[in-house]
């Protein structure tokens, strides 16, 4: 197997500038993860325009964003354990056993074990990424426009059936995202679509405006409500140490969680929340013989933490090799690459090894840095939970305004961001998830172009979409993913009814 790209990557990631950027990213990521309500996707949305304005080269921006992503998967556990409030979506399951442990006065041990399982999960995920991504890329070289189009149908099918409890809303979100992507100049015909004769919309809706509006303004409005609902009390960290017995006890759970996390991460569109939920449910089924899960079982803590970190690495596989993000957060990162006019795909490994390799190498380095940051300094990070919202939220808003203004130097862009944010708030209150909209938006142009190219090749014959083996397999997979969970649910209900 050719791993040359990785050596190129290490030489990029180990330059002092990128090491520093990675360290800053890990630190910020842990804080972003630890703070309740804001997660990796918000953090990346906020820092992306700033990285872009600073003129960082694409590989450094990717290293920064990847470090924030990984860091927040580590940090999310802190507030889950200490506050019983998940720091981000991937850490929801961590609270189930983590917080009971904290209430038993074992918060320090819980933070250590979850830090270790995060590390193991992260490293297993990156090794999987290193080995599996070039393989998938070599497969994807054979993809034509028709296969790409069907691949995206598969991605939306996975998203609809696995993300959120209301598939119709998830799918509506995807379609809205696709619709937003059609705004602007159509390159093949020169037609302006949905621009209402406004020159600003000629280039389409700006990614930074959309992402900051959806993930920062609407988040701040939601935080206002949860703030009004009452404040929480931070538990004490206590003594931090790792018992060898606990490490041995949780090894199986950590390894199983890591593998599940990676697989879920590779599936397009499904992020850390799905990974940790699947791994916790499975671990409970496998290991919970004495009914200790949910009451402070170390295994119930280790499994989802390993899974969410492994998932973060796995989510890069489809993003880097196929250009289809593996999670909401990688969807934002895909948008970041597009800002630099880079379209990820199988050629990226050969053409831009410094970006792909640099990113993957930085994940190895980042996980080591994060372990070092998270073991001795966990007490300091937990103090940050005391930061009041009246300081935090204005800070987030300043970053949002600066981010949007600095990429456009126009107040109109800030106003548009505000409009998008209010719309996002309404949708979120109605139970819509924002990630499908972003996923639809970043895939929209590619999906349409591939459909049109496929039909241009076939002379308008729709049969081309079902011609190759790869397309057929993807159609079948899409159908299975879309209908499978529903059938399984009915089947298990019927079985339960029979007793």
């Amino acid at each position: 197997m050719n791993l040359d790209y990785l050596w190129t990557g290490f030489s990029v990631a180990l330059s002092w500038q990128n090491l520093l950027i990675g360290l800053v990213g890990c630190f910020l990521g842990t804080i972003i993860g630890a703070l309740p309500a804001i997660g990796p996707i918000n953090g990346i949305a906020l820092l992306l325009p700033i990285a872009y304005t600073l003129g960082l080269p694409p590989e450094s921006t990717m290293i920064l964003l990847a470090a924030i992503y990984t860091g927040s998967e580590y940090g999310g556990r802190i507030s889950s354990i200490l506050l019983n409030v998940p720091g981000d979506a991937g850490a929801v399951m961590t609270a189930l056993d983590g917080n009971p442990l904290a209430r038993q006065g074992r918060a320090g041990e819980a933070l250590m074990i979850s830090g270790l399982s995060s590390f193991v999960g992260g490293i297993i995920g990156v090794v999987g990424l290193t080995l599996f991504a070039p393989f998938l890329a070599s497969l994807a070289i054979g993809f034509g426009p028709a296969e790409y189009f069907v691949l995206m149908v598969f991605a939306f099918a996975t998203l609809g059936s696995m993300v959120g409890s209301q598939p119709v809303k998830t799918l509506i979100g995807c379609v809205l995202g696709l619709m937003l992507a059609t705004v602007g100049l159509d390159p093949t015909s020169g037609a302006y679509r949905f621009t209402f004769d406004s020159p600003e919309l000629g280039d389409g809706i700006d990614f930074v405006v959309l992402v900051i509006g959806l993930f920062s303004i609407s988040e701040a409005m939601l935080m206002l409500e949860s703030h009004a609902a009452g404040t929480s009390i931070v538990g004490k960290v206590g003594r931090t140490f790792v018992r060898w017995k606990d490490v041995v006890f949780t090894t199986g759970a950590t390894l199983r969680g890591s593998i599940i996390g990676f697989v879920v991460g590779v599936l397009p569109g499904t992020g850390a929340s799905v990974a940790s939920a699947v791994s916790y449910t499975l671990e409970k089924r496998v290991s919970d013989r004495d009914g200790t899960f949910g009451k402070g079982d170390m295994r119930g803590l280790a499994s989802p933490e390993a899974a969410n970190n492994s998932c973060a690495a796995g989510a890069f596989v489809p993003m880097l090799t196929l250009g289809v993000p593996g999670s909401g957060t990688t969807a934002v990162m895909l948008g970041a690459l597009m800002l630099y006019n880079i379209q990820p795909g199988p050629q990226l490994f050969a053409e831009r090894p410094e970006i792909v390799g640099g990113l993957i190498a930085s994940l190895y380095i980042g996980n080591v840095l994060l372990l070092l940051l998270n073991i001795p300094f966990v007490g300091i990070f937990s103090r940050l939970l005391l930061l009041p919202n009246w300081i935090l939220v204005p800070g987030i808003l300043v970053l949002s305004v600066v981010g949007v203004y600095s990429t456009h130097a126009s107040v109109e862009a800030v106003l548009l961001m505000l409009g998008v944010g209010c719309m996002g708030w309404l949708l979120r209150k109605l139970g819509f998830d924002m990630a499908p909209i972003i996923l639809g938006f970043v895939l929209g142009k590619v999906m349409e172009v591939n459909l049109r190219n496929a039909l241009a090749i076939s002379g308008g014959e729709l049969g081309i979409l079902f011609q190759s083996h790869i397309s057929l397999i993807l159609w079948v997979l899409a159908a299975l993913v879309a209908v499978g969970p529903w059938v399984l649910q009915r089947w298990s209900r019927r079985r339960a009814a029979r007793g």
């Binding site: 379609v175 020169g190 939220v393 204005p394 800070g395 300043v398 209150k429 308008g460």
Partner: protein, 159 residues
Amino acid sequence: MDAPQRPLAGSLSNRLAALALLAFSLVYGFAGSRIDYAFSSDPLGPRVFPVLLAGILGLLSLIYLLVPGRSETWPQGSVLMRCLALPVLVLIAALLFEPIGFAGAMFVMTAGVGRIFGASWRASLIGGLVQAALWYVVFGYLLDVYLPVGELFAVSRRG
């Protein structure tokens, strides 16, 4: 979509949203079918994909209308007022951004938002001053991001 003027029951607001989405899909589909173009190098052209999307959205909104699902409860009373005050404060800051400059606009926003997040007047004013100054130094000097100084000040300096 219209902003809800008063708290709505879960399924009612979902049904309204479904109707709004349905209307949107019709408008979008109609506008999509009338996209103007002279020629296209592919058989599909620029119209078909948007119309297809409009059809899918229409279908999904019908399902949504019939099975509205759950939504969160809407904020009421003072919480609702503060939820609306937040975007208004950002709007004010955005409009002040070029006339009075970055630091002034950010002071108004951070102090105001701090206040609606429950800080006392004193704390929010001090917090606003500190944040405005801090971010100005971080972005203007350390990171060298272009920020407006403010037309008012620019004029007085020139004078």
